[in-house]
């Protein structure tokens, strides 16, 4: 079985949103994804990291961690913060629902993560933090 692993830890500042999605997309490139699959991964990572920064840490100081694993043709991503947590995860996942309308959040973050990845799990405890698990398997290209 093909296996590979990488970890990132960075400050919760908005400059790192682009860094995080590009880094994970570059790691996933070894699975030979299509351009569309790369775009899917970048969008999902961007949503999860943005959530950690603005909701988890509410734009205050903190660390965002990303743990990526490749197993065979699948990418597994865990994104975690030690922020305020989510009181009602099911509610947070509803399309168009946001706790920050005054910041013009569209409430589409979890919807995009669910749409673009194969699987999404959210674990969160108020005042402890949030962990997002996402998987995406890349179809093997015909040679």
């Amino acid at each position: 079985m093909k296996k590979n692993e990488m970890m990132l830890e960075f400050d919760s500042v908005s400059e790192n949103e682009a860094f995080a999605r590009v880094a994970v997309a570059a790691f996933a490139a070894q699975l030979d994804p299509t351009l569309e699959e790369i775009a899917d991964i970048k969008t999902a990572i961007s949503e999860a990291v943005t959530n950690a920064i603005i909701h988890g840490y509410e734009n205050k100081e903190g660390k965002v961690k990303i743990h990526c694993m490749i197993e065979d043709n699948c990418l597994k991503v865990e994104i975690s913060d030690q922020g305020v947590g989510i009181a009602d995860v099911e509610k947070a996942k509803e399309p168009m629902y946001t706790t920050k309308p005054e910041w013009e959040r569209s409430g589409m973050g979890f919807t995009f993560m669910e749409t673009f990845m194969d699987h999404l799990t959210v674990e969160s405890k108020p005042d402890i933090g949030t962990k997002i698990y996402m998987d995406k398997c890349i179809a093997k290209q015909a040679v």
């Binding site: 949103e17 569309e36 970048k42 943005t50 920064i53 959040r105 569209s106 973050g109 919807t111 995009f112």
Partner: protein, 117 residues
């Protein structure tokens, strides 16, 4: 008479239409400064309609959706409209999934959008 005024490399005002040339990935980080500048111009130039030029933009996430919806809410009270032009496939997918095309128009070019709005 129509007047087209170039504010800087990102913003132009054509009559009462604000044209915003987006040149980078449209994420939460880039949305913050863009929103501030756009809102200042919307008030100062008495903007009615807005066209977002996506030429060269390969990435947008839900922060971009929030920013466009926010500007839409700003101009709709005065009968204004919002359009997007030169949208890449990746950005188009985000617009389609979010349902944003129900409230904004999609056009091939900026000129076409300015004409149609």
């Amino acid at each position: 008479m129509k007047t087209r005024k170039k504010i800087d490399s990102f913003f132009e005002v054509d009559d009462a239409c604000l044209i915003i040339h987006i040149t980078d990935d449209l994420d939460h980080h880039n949305v913050i400064s863009l929103r501030e500048k756009a809102d200042r111009l919307i008030d100062k130039e008495r903007v009615k309609n807005i066209v977002f030029d996506f030429d060269g933009v390969s990435f947008m996430d839900s922060s971009g959706i929030g920013m466009i919806m926010g500007r839409y809410k700003k101009v709709i009270f005065t009968g204004g409209k919002v359009g997007v032009a030169s949208v890449s496939n990746n950005v188009d997918r985000i617009f389609r999934i979010s349902g944003l095309y129900k409230i904004i128009g999609k056009y091939e070019t900026v000129a076409e959008a300015v004409q149609a709005l």
